[in-house]
Amino acid sequence: MSAASAQLDDDAGHPSKPLTVKHVLAHIAIIALGLVMLYPVLWMVTSAFKPSQLIFSEPGLWPRQITLENWAQGWMALGIPFSQFFLNSTLIAGLSVIGNLCSCSIAAYAFARLEFHLKPLLFALMLGTIMLPFQVIMVPQYILFQGLGWTNTPLPLVVPKFLAVDSFFVFLLVQFIRGLPRELDDAATVDGCGPLGVFWRIIFPLLRPALAVTAVFTFIWTWNDFLGPLIYLTATENYTVSIALNAFLDSTGTSNWGAMFAMSVLSLVPLFLVFLFAQKQLVQGISTTGLK
Protein backbone atom coordinates (compact mmCIF):
# COMPACT_ATOMS: atom_id res chain seq x y z
CA MET A 1 0.00 0.00 0.00
CA SER A 2 2.64 2.52 0.99
CA ALA A 3 4.74 1.87 -2.08
CA ALA A 4 1.77 2.44 -4.32
CA SER A 5 0.76 5.60 -2.54
CA ALA A 6 4.25 7.02 -2.64
CA GLN A 7 4.34 6.35 -6.31
CA LEU A 8 1.04 8.11 -6.82
CA ASP A 9 1.94 10.90 -4.52
CA ASP A 10 3.72 13.24 -6.87
CA ASP A 11 0.54 14.72 -8.24
CA ALA A 12 -0.34 16.02 -4.81
CA GLY A 13 -2.62 19.00 -4.87
CA HIS A 14 -2.71 19.34 -8.62
CA PRO A 15 -5.97 20.42 -10.22
CA SER A 16 -7.50 17.82 -12.47
CA LYS A 17 -5.25 16.73 -15.29
CA PRO A 18 -5.98 14.94 -18.52
CA LEU A 19 -7.07 11.40 -17.85
CA THR A 20 -4.14 9.03 -17.96
CA VAL A 21 -3.91 5.29 -17.58
CA LYS A 22 -2.58 5.89 -14.10
CA HIS A 23 -5.64 7.89 -13.18
CA VAL A 24 -8.00 5.29 -14.51
CA LEU A 25 -6.20 2.65 -12.45
CA ALA A 26 -6.42 4.88 -9.40
CA HIS A 27 -10.15 5.35 -9.91
CA ILE A 28 -10.65 1.62 -10.24
CA ALA A 29 -8.60 0.93 -7.11
CA ILE A 30 -10.51 3.52 -5.09
CA ILE A 31 -13.89 2.24 -6.15
CA ALA A 32 -12.91 -1.37 -5.57
CA LEU A 33 -11.62 -0.63 -2.09
CA GLY A 34 -14.67 1.47 -1.36
CA LEU A 35 -16.92 -1.42 -2.33
CA VAL A 36 -15.02 -3.83 -0.09
CA MET A 37 -15.34 -1.34 2.74
CA LEU A 38 -19.01 -0.73 2.30
CA TYR A 39 -19.88 -4.31 1.45
CA PRO A 40 -20.77 -5.26 5.04
CA VAL A 41 -23.18 -2.33 5.27
CA LEU A 42 -24.79 -3.11 1.92
CA TRP A 43 -25.00 -6.73 2.93
CA MET A 44 -26.76 -5.73 6.12
CA VAL A 45 -29.27 -3.69 4.17
CA THR A 46 -30.13 -6.50 1.76
CA SER A 47 -30.09 -9.11 4.52
CA ALA A 48 -32.80 -7.16 6.25
CA PHE A 49 -35.03 -8.16 3.35
CA LYS A 50 -34.13 -11.85 3.39
CA PRO A 51 -35.93 -14.49 5.38
CA SER A 52 -33.84 -15.03 8.52
CA GLN A 53 -32.96 -18.65 7.80
CA LEU A 54 -31.58 -17.73 4.37
CA ILE A 55 -29.25 -14.95 5.55
CA PHE A 56 -26.48 -17.35 6.39
CA SER A 57 -26.94 -19.83 3.63
CA GLU A 58 -26.55 -17.31 0.84
CA PRO A 59 -23.64 -14.90 1.13
CA GLY A 60 -24.59 -13.00 -2.02
CA LEU A 61 -25.88 -9.48 -1.91
CA TRP A 62 -29.17 -9.87 -3.76
CA PRO A 63 -31.96 -11.60 -1.90
CA ARG A 64 -33.55 -14.40 -3.88
CA GLN A 65 -36.63 -14.08 -1.82
CA ILE A 66 -37.76 -10.72 -0.56
CA THR A 67 -39.71 -10.44 2.63
CA LEU A 68 -40.86 -7.56 4.75
CA GLU A 69 -41.52 -9.77 7.72
CA ASN A 70 -38.26 -8.81 9.43
CA TRP A 71 -39.37 -5.23 9.61
CA ALA A 72 -42.69 -6.07 11.20
CA GLN A 73 -41.10 -8.50 13.64
CA GLY A 74 -38.30 -6.16 14.59
CA TRP A 75 -40.62 -3.25 15.10
CA MET A 76 -42.41 -5.03 17.94
CA ALA A 77 -39.59 -7.25 19.20
CA LEU A 78 -39.24 -5.64 22.60
CA GLY A 79 -42.96 -5.48 23.21
CA ILE A 80 -42.93 -1.76 22.57
CA PRO A 81 -42.96 -0.40 19.02
CA PHE A 82 -39.58 0.85 17.87
CA SER A 83 -41.16 4.21 17.16
CA GLN A 84 -40.98 4.80 20.92
CA PHE A 85 -37.20 4.37 20.87
CA PHE A 86 -36.88 6.62 17.87
CA LEU A 87 -38.95 9.20 19.66
CA ASN A 88 -36.71 8.95 22.75
CA SER A 89 -33.54 9.21 20.70
CA THR A 90 -34.88 12.08 18.66
CA LEU A 91 -35.97 13.93 21.78
CA ILE A 92 -32.61 13.46 23.48
CA ALA A 93 -30.58 14.26 20.39
CA GLY A 94 -32.76 17.24 19.47
CA LEU A 95 -32.65 18.77 22.94
CA SER A 96 -28.92 18.14 23.12
CA VAL A 97 -28.40 20.02 19.88
CA ILE A 98 -30.46 22.97 21.11
CA GLY A 99 -28.72 22.87 24.48
CA ASN A 100 -25.24 22.84 22.98
CA LEU A 101 -26.05 25.58 20.49
CA CYS A 102 -27.37 27.94 23.17
CA SER A 103 -25.06 27.23 26.06
CA CYS A 104 -21.78 26.70 24.22
CA SER A 105 -22.20 29.82 22.11
CA ILE A 106 -22.96 32.01 25.13
CA ALA A 107 -20.05 30.56 27.06
CA ALA A 108 -17.79 31.04 24.05
CA TYR A 109 -18.93 34.63 23.67
CA ALA A 110 -18.11 35.29 27.31
CA PHE A 111 -14.64 33.80 26.96
CA ALA A 112 -13.89 35.55 23.70
CA ARG A 113 -15.26 39.02 24.32
CA LEU A 114 -16.15 39.78 27.92
CA GLU A 115 -13.83 40.51 30.79
CA PHE A 116 -14.58 38.90 34.10
CA HIS A 117 -12.98 37.69 37.26
CA LEU A 118 -10.77 34.58 37.01
CA LYS A 119 -11.26 34.36 33.25
CA PRO A 120 -7.79 32.98 32.45
CA LEU A 121 -8.12 30.34 35.14
CA LEU A 122 -11.59 29.31 34.04
CA PHE A 123 -10.50 29.18 30.43
CA ALA A 124 -7.58 26.95 31.30
CA LEU A 125 -9.89 24.69 33.30
CA MET A 126 -12.24 24.44 30.37
CA LEU A 127 -9.39 23.47 28.04
CA GLY A 128 -8.30 20.87 30.57
CA THR A 129 -11.69 19.19 30.51
CA ILE A 130 -11.39 18.62 26.77
CA MET A 131 -8.75 16.03 27.55
CA LEU A 132 -10.76 14.52 30.37
CA PRO A 133 -12.27 11.15 29.49
CA PHE A 134 -15.98 10.83 30.17
CA GLN A 135 -15.23 7.78 32.28
CA VAL A 136 -13.50 9.89 34.90
CA ILE A 137 -16.60 11.90 35.73
CA MET A 138 -18.99 9.08 34.95
CA VAL A 139 -19.24 7.77 38.50
CA PRO A 140 -19.65 11.02 40.47
CA GLN A 141 -22.02 12.29 37.82
CA TYR A 142 -24.12 9.20 38.19
CA ILE A 143 -24.20 9.60 41.96
CA LEU A 144 -25.20 13.24 41.57
CA PHE A 145 -28.05 12.45 39.20
CA GLN A 146 -29.16 9.57 41.34
CA GLY A 147 -29.30 11.94 44.30
CA LEU A 148 -31.51 14.23 42.24
CA GLY A 149 -33.75 11.32 41.40
CA TRP A 150 -33.09 11.76 37.70
CA THR A 151 -32.00 8.24 36.84
CA ASN A 152 -34.24 6.50 34.36
CA THR A 153 -35.24 9.83 32.82
CA PRO A 154 -33.63 11.57 29.87
CA LEU A 155 -32.65 14.47 32.14
CA PRO A 156 -29.06 13.35 32.90
CA LEU A 157 -28.43 13.08 29.18
CA VAL A 158 -29.97 16.39 28.23
CA VAL A 159 -29.61 18.88 31.07
CA PRO A 160 -25.78 18.98 31.01
CA LYS A 161 -25.94 20.06 27.38
CA PHE A 162 -27.65 23.25 28.51
CA LEU A 163 -24.75 23.94 30.84
CA ALA A 164 -22.04 24.05 28.16
CA VAL A 165 -20.26 20.90 29.32
CA ASP A 166 -19.07 20.00 25.82
CA SER A 167 -15.95 22.09 26.18
CA PHE A 168 -14.69 21.10 22.75
CA PHE A 169 -17.50 23.05 21.15
CA VAL A 170 -16.96 26.00 23.48
CA PHE A 171 -13.34 26.06 22.39
CA LEU A 172 -14.28 25.77 18.73
CA LEU A 173 -16.70 28.68 19.02
CA VAL A 174 -14.24 30.80 21.02
CA GLN A 175 -11.71 30.40 18.22
CA PHE A 176 -14.34 31.35 15.69
CA ILE A 177 -15.51 34.44 17.57
CA ARG A 178 -11.91 35.60 17.92
CA GLY A 179 -11.77 35.71 14.15
CA LEU A 180 -14.72 38.09 13.91
CA PRO A 181 -13.89 41.80 13.69
CA ARG A 182 -14.33 43.62 16.97
CA GLU A 183 -15.46 46.75 15.15
CA LEU A 184 -18.85 45.14 14.72
CA ASP A 185 -19.24 44.79 18.48
CA ASP A 186 -18.10 48.36 19.02
CA ALA A 187 -20.52 49.70 16.45
CA ALA A 188 -23.37 47.82 18.09
CA THR A 189 -22.36 49.08 21.53
CA VAL A 190 -22.36 52.66 20.24
CA ASP A 191 -25.86 52.02 18.92
CA GLY A 192 -26.89 51.09 22.42
CA CYS A 193 -26.56 47.33 22.57
CA GLY A 194 -25.64 45.68 25.83
CA PRO A 195 -23.41 42.56 25.89
CA LEU A 196 -26.42 40.30 25.38
CA GLY A 197 -27.66 42.47 22.54
CA VAL A 198 -24.27 42.29 20.86
CA PHE A 199 -24.25 38.55 21.27
CA TRP A 200 -27.74 38.03 19.95
CA ARG A 201 -27.71 40.54 17.11
CA ILE A 202 -24.12 40.45 15.94
CA ILE A 203 -22.21 37.38 17.06
CA PHE A 204 -24.87 34.70 16.97
CA PRO A 205 -25.84 35.25 13.31
CA LEU A 206 -22.20 35.40 12.25
CA LEU A 207 -21.42 32.18 14.08
CA ARG A 208 -23.57 30.19 11.70
CA PRO A 209 -20.87 28.01 10.11
CA ALA A 210 -19.40 27.06 13.48
CA LEU A 211 -22.85 26.48 14.92
CA ALA A 212 -23.68 24.19 12.02
CA VAL A 213 -20.62 22.09 12.81
CA THR A 214 -21.60 22.01 16.48
CA ALA A 215 -25.15 20.95 15.65
CA VAL A 216 -24.12 18.22 13.23
CA PHE A 217 -21.61 16.63 15.55
CA THR A 218 -23.80 16.94 18.63
CA PHE A 219 -26.55 15.15 16.79
CA ILE A 220 -24.32 12.34 15.52
CA TRP A 221 -22.61 11.79 18.85
CA THR A 222 -25.83 11.80 20.82
CA TRP A 223 -27.51 9.49 18.37
CA ASN A 224 -24.63 7.02 18.56
CA ASP A 225 -24.08 7.41 22.29
CA PHE A 226 -24.31 4.10 24.06
CA LEU A 227 -22.62 4.34 27.44
CA GLY A 228 -24.66 7.32 28.69
CA PRO A 229 -28.10 5.84 27.98
CA LEU A 230 -26.86 2.44 29.14
CA ILE A 231 -26.09 3.86 32.57
CA TYR A 232 -29.10 6.09 33.02
CA LEU A 233 -32.02 4.48 31.24
CA THR A 234 -33.28 1.27 32.81
CA ALA A 235 -36.95 0.99 31.85
CA THR A 236 -37.55 -0.35 28.37
CA GLU A 237 -39.94 2.45 27.41
CA ASN A 238 -37.16 4.98 28.02
CA TYR A 239 -34.55 3.24 25.88
CA THR A 240 -32.83 5.05 23.08
CA VAL A 241 -32.42 3.32 19.73
CA SER A 242 -28.89 2.14 20.48
CA ILE A 243 -29.82 0.56 23.80
CA ALA A 244 -32.93 -0.97 22.31
CA LEU A 245 -30.89 -2.60 19.54
CA ASN A 246 -28.52 -4.10 22.03
CA ALA A 247 -31.37 -5.29 24.26
CA PHE A 248 -32.94 -6.81 21.18
CA LEU A 249 -29.97 -9.08 20.73
CA ASP A 250 -30.01 -10.11 24.38
CA SER A 251 -33.69 -10.93 24.35
CA THR A 252 -33.92 -12.82 21.09
CA GLY A 253 -30.53 -14.47 21.14
CA THR A 254 -28.98 -14.99 17.76
CA SER A 255 -32.06 -16.47 16.18
CA ASN A 256 -33.62 -13.46 14.59
CA TRP A 257 -30.83 -11.71 12.74
CA GLY A 258 -33.11 -10.61 9.95
CA ALA A 259 -35.30 -8.57 12.25
CA MET A 260 -32.28 -7.18 14.03
CA PHE A 261 -30.66 -6.11 10.78
CA ALA A 262 -33.88 -4.45 9.73
CA MET A 263 -33.93 -2.36 12.88
CA SER A 264 -30.20 -1.70 12.62
CA VAL A 265 -30.71 -0.32 9.15
CA LEU A 266 -33.50 1.90 10.44
CA SER A 267 -31.30 3.15 13.27
CA LEU A 268 -28.72 4.28 10.72
CA VAL A 269 -31.20 6.20 8.59
CA PRO A 270 -31.01 9.47 10.57
CA LEU A 271 -27.20 9.33 10.36
CA PHE A 272 -27.40 8.90 6.59
CA LEU A 273 -29.76 11.82 6.31
CA VAL A 274 -27.50 14.08 8.35
CA PHE A 275 -24.60 12.87 6.26
CA LEU A 276 -26.40 13.71 3.02
CA PHE A 277 -27.47 17.16 4.07
CA ALA A 278 -24.47 18.24 6.08
CA GLN A 279 -21.51 16.78 4.18
CA LYS A 280 -19.89 20.14 3.74
CA GLN A 281 -20.11 21.03 7.40
CA LEU A 282 -18.92 17.58 8.39
CA VAL A 283 -15.81 17.72 6.26
CA GLN A 284 -15.11 21.29 7.23
CA GLY A 285 -15.55 20.47 10.91
CA ILE A 286 -13.20 17.52 10.73
CA SER A 287 -10.46 19.13 8.69
CA THR A 288 -10.30 22.26 10.80
CA THR A 289 -10.82 20.87 14.26
CA GLY A 290 -10.22 17.15 14.17
CA LEU A 291 -13.67 16.36 15.52
CA LYS A 292 -14.68 12.78 15.01
Binding site: S2, A3, H14, I143, L227, G290
Partner: protein, 268 residues
Protein backbone atom coordinates in the same frame (compact mmCIF):
# COMPACT_ATOMS: atom_id res chain seq x y z
CA UNK B 1 -13.80 15.69 38.69
CA UNK B 2 -12.68 16.39 42.22
CA UNK B 3 -15.60 14.32 43.42
CA UNK B 4 -14.23 11.46 41.38
CA UNK B 5 -10.80 11.88 42.94
CA UNK B 6 -12.36 11.90 46.40
CA UNK B 7 -14.46 8.83 45.65
CA UNK B 8 -11.43 6.95 44.50
CA UNK B 9 -10.28 6.96 48.12
CA UNK B 10 -13.55 5.55 49.45
CA UNK B 11 -15.56 2.38 49.26
CA UNK B 12 -18.74 4.06 48.08
CA UNK B 13 -21.35 1.62 46.84
CA UNK B 14 -24.46 3.80 46.35
CA UNK B 15 -26.22 2.43 49.43
CA UNK B 16 -24.22 2.17 52.61
CA UNK B 17 -21.99 4.60 54.42
CA UNK B 18 -19.11 6.08 52.54
CA UNK B 19 -15.91 5.15 54.27
CA UNK B 20 -12.51 6.65 53.66
CA UNK B 21 -10.23 3.82 52.71
CA UNK B 22 -7.19 5.77 51.67
CA UNK B 23 -5.12 4.15 48.99
CA UNK B 24 -6.51 0.68 49.40
CA UNK B 25 -8.52 0.84 46.17
CA UNK B 26 -5.37 1.67 44.28
CA UNK B 27 -3.44 -0.97 46.17
CA UNK B 28 -6.00 -3.61 45.36
CA UNK B 29 -6.17 -2.63 41.70
CA UNK B 30 -2.45 -2.79 41.29
CA UNK B 31 -1.59 -5.82 43.39
CA UNK B 32 -4.65 -7.98 43.68
CA UNK B 33 -6.70 -7.72 40.51
CA UNK B 34 -5.62 -9.89 37.60
CA UNK B 35 -8.58 -8.71 35.54
CA UNK B 36 -7.30 -5.15 35.79
CA UNK B 37 -4.09 -6.22 34.12
CA UNK B 38 -6.03 -8.22 31.57
CA UNK B 39 -8.13 -5.18 30.75
CA UNK B 40 -5.14 -2.85 30.66
CA UNK B 41 -3.33 -5.31 28.39
CA UNK B 42 -6.27 -5.59 26.01
CA UNK B 43 -6.63 -1.84 25.84
CA UNK B 44 -2.92 -1.26 25.26
CA UNK B 45 -2.90 -3.84 22.49
CA UNK B 46 -5.95 -2.20 20.96
CA UNK B 47 -4.36 1.24 21.04
CA UNK B 48 -0.89 0.13 19.96
CA UNK B 49 -2.15 -1.91 17.02
CA UNK B 50 -5.31 -0.04 16.10
CA UNK B 51 -4.05 3.52 16.05
CA UNK B 52 -0.95 3.07 13.84
CA UNK B 53 -2.80 0.77 11.45
CA UNK B 54 -5.65 3.20 11.18
CA UNK B 55 -3.31 6.14 10.57
CA UNK B 56 -1.28 4.30 7.92
CA UNK B 57 -4.46 3.36 6.17
CA UNK B 58 -5.85 6.88 6.41
CA UNK B 59 -2.64 8.38 5.05
CA UNK B 60 -2.41 5.92 2.18
CA UNK B 61 -5.96 6.62 1.06
CA UNK B 62 -5.46 10.35 1.48
CA UNK B 63 -2.36 10.18 -0.74
CA UNK B 64 -4.23 8.28 -3.42
CA UNK B 65 -7.17 10.66 -3.28
CA UNK B 66 -4.93 13.70 -3.37
CA UNK B 67 -3.66 13.48 -6.90
CA UNK B 68 -6.16 15.62 -8.66
CA UNK B 69 -8.63 12.91 -9.44
CA UNK B 70 -12.06 14.02 -10.42
CA UNK B 71 -14.82 13.06 -8.05
CA UNK B 72 -12.74 13.74 -4.97
CA UNK B 73 -15.71 15.00 -2.98
CA UNK B 74 -17.62 11.85 -3.71
CA UNK B 75 -14.76 9.55 -2.77
CA UNK B 76 -14.03 11.51 0.36
CA UNK B 77 -17.62 11.04 1.46
CA UNK B 78 -17.59 7.38 0.50
CA UNK B 79 -14.58 6.70 2.67
CA UNK B 80 -15.82 8.81 5.50
CA UNK B 81 -19.10 6.97 5.80
CA UNK B 82 -17.78 4.10 7.97
CA UNK B 83 -16.45 6.60 10.52
CA UNK B 84 -19.87 8.07 10.84
CA UNK B 85 -21.48 4.69 11.34
CA UNK B 86 -18.63 2.98 13.15
CA UNK B 87 -19.48 4.01 16.67
CA UNK B 88 -23.10 2.98 16.37
CA UNK B 89 -24.49 -0.11 17.99
CA UNK B 90 -25.88 -1.27 14.64
CA UNK B 91 -22.41 -1.64 13.15
CA UNK B 92 -21.07 -3.36 16.24
CA UNK B 93 -23.90 -5.86 15.97
CA UNK B 94 -23.16 -6.31 12.30
CA UNK B 95 -19.53 -6.93 13.16
CA UNK B 96 -20.54 -9.52 15.67
CA UNK B 97 -22.40 -11.33 12.95
CA UNK B 98 -19.92 -11.13 10.10
CA UNK B 99 -17.12 -12.52 12.24
CA UNK B 100 -19.26 -15.26 13.71
CA UNK B 101 -18.80 -18.92 12.80
CA UNK B 102 -21.32 -18.78 9.95
CA UNK B 103 -20.72 -15.11 9.32
CA UNK B 104 -20.04 -13.25 6.14
CA UNK B 105 -16.24 -13.45 6.44
CA UNK B 106 -16.24 -17.21 6.70
CA UNK B 107 -18.72 -17.53 3.87
CA UNK B 108 -16.55 -15.46 1.59
CA UNK B 109 -13.42 -17.34 2.64
CA UNK B 110 -15.34 -20.54 2.06
CA UNK B 111 -15.88 -19.54 -1.55
CA UNK B 112 -12.10 -19.53 -1.91
CA UNK B 113 -11.89 -23.04 -0.58
CA UNK B 114 -10.95 -22.38 3.04
CA UNK B 115 -12.50 -24.80 5.46
CA UNK B 116 -12.33 -25.34 9.20
CA UNK B 117 -12.49 -21.64 9.85
CA UNK B 118 -12.78 -20.40 13.42
CA UNK B 119 -15.63 -18.31 14.76
CA UNK B 120 -13.44 -15.24 14.92
CA UNK B 121 -15.22 -13.31 17.63
CA UNK B 122 -15.64 -16.38 19.81
CA UNK B 123 -11.98 -17.34 19.69
CA UNK B 124 -9.76 -15.64 22.28
CA UNK B 125 -6.84 -15.36 19.84
CA UNK B 126 -8.78 -13.43 17.23
CA UNK B 127 -11.62 -11.71 19.06
CA UNK B 128 -9.68 -8.53 19.78
CA UNK B 129 -8.34 -8.43 16.22
CA UNK B 130 -11.86 -8.15 14.90
CA UNK B 131 -12.48 -5.13 17.11
CA UNK B 132 -9.19 -3.60 16.01
CA UNK B 133 -10.29 -4.15 12.44
CA UNK B 134 -13.51 -2.32 13.21
CA UNK B 135 -11.42 0.55 14.52
CA UNK B 136 -9.24 0.61 11.42
CA UNK B 137 -12.35 0.55 9.27
CA UNK B 138 -13.35 3.93 10.69
CA UNK B 139 -10.31 5.71 9.31
CA UNK B 140 -12.37 8.42 7.65
CA UNK B 141 -11.82 11.36 9.92
CA UNK B 142 -8.01 11.12 10.18
CA UNK B 143 -8.06 10.69 6.41
CA UNK B 144 -9.92 13.96 5.95
CA UNK B 145 -7.44 15.71 8.24
CA UNK B 146 -4.56 14.22 6.22
CA UNK B 147 -6.16 15.42 3.00
CA UNK B 148 -6.43 18.93 4.41
CA UNK B 149 -2.79 18.69 5.49
CA UNK B 150 -1.59 17.49 2.08
CA UNK B 151 -3.19 20.51 0.47
CA UNK B 152 -1.01 22.77 2.61
CA UNK B 153 2.23 21.42 1.18
CA UNK B 154 3.54 23.92 -1.36
CA UNK B 155 3.74 22.55 -4.91
CA UNK B 156 7.05 24.20 -5.65
CA UNK B 157 8.80 21.96 -3.13
CA UNK B 158 8.01 19.00 -5.34
CA UNK B 159 8.96 20.86 -8.48
CA UNK B 160 12.28 21.87 -6.99
CA UNK B 161 12.85 18.28 -5.90
CA UNK B 162 12.16 16.83 -9.32
CA UNK B 163 14.52 19.37 -10.87
CA UNK B 164 17.12 18.07 -8.44
CA UNK B 165 16.37 14.60 -9.71
CA UNK B 166 14.61 13.23 -6.66
CA UNK B 167 12.39 10.25 -7.43
CA UNK B 168 8.86 9.89 -6.16
CA UNK B 169 9.92 7.68 -3.31
CA UNK B 170 12.53 10.20 -2.17
CA UNK B 171 10.03 12.99 -2.51
CA UNK B 172 7.62 11.14 -0.29
CA UNK B 173 10.22 10.62 2.45
CA UNK B 174 11.93 13.99 2.10
CA UNK B 175 8.97 16.28 1.52
CA UNK B 176 5.58 14.74 2.17
CA UNK B 177 6.29 13.04 5.47
CA UNK B 178 8.22 15.90 7.13
CA UNK B 179 5.76 18.52 5.91
CA UNK B 180 2.90 16.40 7.10
CA UNK B 181 4.40 15.56 10.48
CA UNK B 182 2.40 18.14 12.48
CA UNK B 183 -0.78 16.65 11.06
CA UNK B 184 0.41 13.12 11.76
CA UNK B 185 1.17 14.16 15.31
CA UNK B 186 -2.23 15.77 15.72
CA UNK B 187 -4.00 12.67 14.42
CA UNK B 188 -1.87 10.40 16.57
CA UNK B 189 -2.64 12.18 19.83
CA UNK B 190 -6.31 12.53 18.99
CA UNK B 191 -6.80 8.91 18.00
CA UNK B 192 -4.82 7.68 20.96
CA UNK B 193 -6.97 9.54 23.46
CA UNK B 194 -10.05 8.47 21.61
CA UNK B 195 -9.14 4.77 21.48
CA UNK B 196 -8.36 4.57 25.16
CA UNK B 197 -11.97 5.42 25.82
CA UNK B 198 -13.45 2.93 23.40
CA UNK B 199 -16.42 1.20 24.94
CA UNK B 200 -19.38 0.50 22.66
CA UNK B 201 -17.59 -1.86 20.29
CA UNK B 202 -16.22 -4.23 22.89
CA UNK B 203 -19.44 -4.11 24.89
CA UNK B 204 -21.64 -5.00 21.97
CA UNK B 205 -19.33 -7.40 20.16
CA UNK B 206 -18.73 -9.42 23.31
CA UNK B 207 -22.31 -9.15 24.53
CA UNK B 208 -21.20 -7.02 27.47
CA UNK B 209 -18.87 -9.62 28.95
CA UNK B 210 -15.50 -8.77 27.46
CA UNK B 211 -15.18 -12.44 26.59
CA UNK B 212 -14.17 -14.90 25.41
CA UNK B 213 -11.81 -15.31 28.38
CA UNK B 214 -11.53 -11.55 28.84
CA UNK B 215 -9.85 -11.25 25.45
CA UNK B 216 -11.92 -8.17 24.56
CA UNK B 217 -12.26 -6.77 28.06
CA UNK B 218 -11.54 -3.12 27.37
CA UNK B 219 -10.48 -1.02 30.28
CA UNK B 220 -13.62 1.09 30.21
CA UNK B 221 -15.79 -2.00 29.98
CA UNK B 222 -14.21 -3.41 33.12
CA UNK B 223 -14.65 -0.07 34.81
CA UNK B 224 -18.29 -0.04 33.85
CA UNK B 225 -18.73 -3.46 35.40
CA UNK B 226 -17.07 -2.45 38.62
CA UNK B 227 -19.23 0.66 38.89
CA UNK B 228 -22.59 -0.51 37.64
CA UNK B 229 -22.63 -4.27 38.04
CA UNK B 230 -20.69 -4.61 41.27
CA UNK B 231 -21.57 -1.10 42.45
CA UNK B 232 -18.01 -0.45 43.52
CA UNK B 233 -18.09 3.23 42.72
CA UNK B 234 -14.95 4.05 44.65
CA UNK B 235 -13.02 1.30 42.97
CA UNK B 236 -14.21 2.42 39.53
CA UNK B 237 -13.22 5.99 40.33
CA UNK B 238 -9.74 4.84 41.23
CA UNK B 239 -9.61 2.99 37.91
CA UNK B 240 -10.73 6.14 36.12
CA UNK B 241 -7.83 8.04 37.61
CA UNK B 242 -5.36 5.38 36.59
CA UNK B 243 -6.75 5.60 33.06
CA UNK B 244 -6.39 9.34 33.07
CA UNK B 245 -2.81 9.10 34.31
CA UNK B 246 -2.03 6.59 31.58
CA UNK B 247 -3.48 8.81 28.88
CA UNK B 248 -1.66 11.78 30.37
CA UNK B 249 1.68 9.98 30.44
CA UNK B 250 1.35 8.68 26.88
CA UNK B 251 0.29 12.08 25.60
CA UNK B 252 3.23 13.64 27.40
CA UNK B 253 5.55 11.09 25.79
CA UNK B 254 4.08 11.92 22.40
CA UNK B 255 4.62 15.62 23.01
CA UNK B 256 8.09 15.01 24.46
CA UNK B 257 9.33 13.02 21.49
CA UNK B 258 7.56 15.24 18.99
CA UNK B 259 10.43 17.70 18.77
CA UNK B 260 12.54 14.97 17.20
CA UNK B 261 10.18 14.16 14.39
CA UNK B 262 7.60 16.90 14.02
CA UNK B 263 8.71 19.70 11.76
CA UNK B 264 6.87 22.94 11.81
CA UNK B 265 7.22 25.21 8.83
CA UNK B 266 9.06 28.23 10.09
CA UNK B 267 11.53 26.59 12.44
CA UNK B 268 14.54 25.23 10.67
Amino acid sequence: MLASLYLSFTNYNLLGQTRWVGLSNYAQILTDDPRFYAAAGVTLKYVMAGVPLQLIFALSIALILNQGLTGLTFYRSLYYLPSLLGSSVAIALLWRQIFGSTGLVNQVLGLFGFTNLPAWIATPEYALDTIILLHVWTFGSPMIIFLAGLRQIPRDLYEAASVDGAGRWTQFWQITLPMLSPVIFFNLVLQMIHSFQSFTQSFVVSGGTGGPVDSTLMYTLYMYHQAFTNFRMGYASAMAWILMLAIGVLTAIAFGTSKYWVHYAGDK
